[in-house]
């Protein structure tokens, strides 16, 4: 194990902990918007994981996925937020 391996291990561990925190807030809520934020944070975390993986292995195979997942996460979050907004207006 050299310094670089330790750095990647530490980064993976921190991101894994981050996923746990996000999941906690995702379950706790309390509002829809909280959960929407959490889902977006999860998609960013997945992109980060892929970037780490690419850096660790020097492997470029999954890099296209980063763009795709990032954009899907964005569109999904935006749609969910709009939906939450519409629901709020309907209730008024």
């Amino acid at each position: 194990m050299n310094l670089l391996d330790h750095a990647f291990t530490a980064a993976f561990a921190m991101l894994a902990a981050a996923v746990l925190f996000v999941l906690y807030r995702l379950v706790r809520g309390p509002s829809v918007l909280d959960r929407i934020i959490c889902l977006n944070a999860l998609s960013v975390l997945v992109v980060s994981f892929i970037a780490l993986e690419a850096g660790l292995r020097g492997d470029t195979a999954y890099i296209g996925l980063m763009v795709a997942i990032g954009l899907l996460g964005f569109v999904g979050t935006l749609t969910a937020t709009r939906f939450a907004e519409r629901r709020a207006h309907d209730r008024d």
């Binding site: 050299n2 921190m14 909280d34 944070a41 970037a51 890099i63 964005f74 907004e85 709020a88």
Partner: protein, 116 residues
């Protein structure tokens, strides 16, 4: 151990740390807007640092370019999400006004109502 390895070894854990602290904020902040601040923006900084660090390990610039494209999309999309969530949470009254020092939007809304 080359110079690029050192750069990676510094940037990658730093980026992960930013992301981690952001998500800790997501758990610890008591109000929705604060949670939103903590969950979206440090994540983006963290992602940029991780991508920059990881790019130093890739064989050439050509394979690293799509990663920076992903980072760029993140930078373009985060403000849109933040603004949408902010507006919806304000209009749904989910902003905890006791934790605001000043709220000039509320004042503006009130004056418009008084005019009617």
């Amino acid at each position: 151990m080359t110079a690029t390895d050192v750069v990676t070894a510094v940037l990658v854990p730093l980026g992960a740390l930013f992301t981690l602290i952001g998500t800790i904020g997501l758990v610890r902040f008591p109000t929705l807007l604060n949670r939103m601040h903590a969950a979206t923006k440090p994540d983006t900084v963290g992602l940029l640092l991780i991508i920059t660090g990881a790019a130093f390990q890739l064989p050439d610039v050509r394979s690293a370019a799509p990663m920076f494209l992903a980072a760029m999309f993140q930078f373009v999309t985060v403000p849109v999400l933040a603004q949408t969530v902010g507006r919806v949470s304000y209009s749904r009254g989910m902003v905890d006004s006791e934790r605001l020092v000043v709220d000039e939007l509320e004042e503006a809304v009130r004056t418009t109502r008084d005019d009617d």
